[in-house]
Amino acid sequence: MPTEVTAGTEAGRAPTVSRTVRPYPVREALEPWCAAGVSGVMRILDAPGGAVYVVDGKIAYAECSVAAGMERLLTGSGRLPAEAWRAAVGAGRAQHRVGAELVATGLVSQAEVEALSVIALYDAAFFLFDLVASAQFEPGARHPFGHLRTLDLRLVCQEVDRRKRLLADAWPDAAIDTAAVLPRRRLSTQAVALTALQWEVVAGADRRRSPIDLARLLGRDTFTVMLEVRRMARVGLVEPGRPGGSVAAGSVATVRAREAARPEPVPPLPRISPERTREPEPPRRAERRPEPRGSAPLVPLPRRPAREPGAFGDFDEAEDRPRGDGRPSDLILTRLIAGLEAL
């Protein structure tokens, strides 16, 4: 359990203050807040950026710049005119009831809005939950859309894991998600059956757009478009082209690179950056040591530049993560001591 969350209050009591935390896996950073049953928002400060809304300890909504939000799902798909969306936002934003305003117009049903909010939540969670990022929790904050359905953190984590497996099973190379979708010009089969979404993807592919961009274009959630493209790649209908040039695709590529870097059991890179040694350690490993607990909140938080792939930091996580016993490694203790001395 991250100490930085409870460091501002008495340990073990429900946290009440917002606090900037150091880079940390988002799903683990959410745990104490969910366990304490609080409401608020965890803002992810590092790229690609996003927010996870918690209501009474359950996940109510999540958003991420590369994932589908309610606006994309409703207006990007042509389901709802953009003016209707803007009107509902104007009417309901201040009272956190944009969703209720939309339902009140009669253009969408309550069930549909709920379903879309869950789709948006999972889409963002997919990109955010395994991110090792700086985050900040603001208690009490609510999403302007209003919170319709809330889900257990455990359930969201399970779904995120299932999605990763699903993608890996369909096509193992994650690079395809950010590469241009190239429909094959000649097919080896006699007959082809596409799902509606697969057809939309092929129709929208212009040899530049990546699955990330196509999801945006079609007003669909990013995950399902990535999945359909991978499925089509497996049966030889499309192939990955050059890396997509869009900002969103680049952002996802960065996230992917970090994810890929973490679980690899490669030897740690030599740490040469002096700033690196000053960086406070993930708190779980430090919990048994009395001094970092007290001093942790005072540590200035060195922020990595957002665009840096974070190769060094992520290798740290890789080597730390498999230690399920909670005992700090020698390496961490050495760095911790070095860090404290540097202060």
Partner: protein, 123 residues
């Protein structure tokens, strides 16, 4: 106009109902479930049955049958599993998945009620 929770609750009122889920069949994700238990994890069932729906839709397409699935019935020794793809434009890509006890359920009645629930959901 029904919200998701009350539609699912209505489905659970069907005689012999064990569980119900509203599932997105592109991703296999359950948007909402009722009646999930340790013995019967509806989230897993939802993901697995997605492949059933996808396979059947693909088969229809390859057979060039210009028709749509109203429901898919899977009969087990002790249970009925009814899968009902939602058809209106705004709920396309979703299906209702219903688990019924074979000894307690009236299949015709259950299918009829699911149809009503679908209509409410699509409003």
């Amino acid at each position: 106009m029904a919200d998701m929770e009350s539609s699912l609750q209505e489905a659970m009122q069907i005689e012999g109902a064990i569980g119900v889920a509203l599932v997105d069949y592109t991703s296999g994700m359950a948007l909402g479930t009722l009646g999930s238990s340790k013995e019967f994890d509806l989230t897993i069932a939802a993901a697995g049955n997605t492949d059933v729906v996808r396979a059947k839709l693909r088969t229809l397409e390859m057979l060039k049958l210009k028709d749509s699935i109203e429901d898919i019935l899977i009969t087990l020794g002790g249970q009925y599993h009814v899968i009902r793809p939602l058809t209106s434009r705004n709920t396309q890509g979703l299906f209702l998945y219903m688990v019924l006890s074979r000894t307690r359920a009236n299949l015709a009645m259950a299918r009829h009620k699911l149809k009503t629930i679908e209509t409410d959901l699509q409003m």
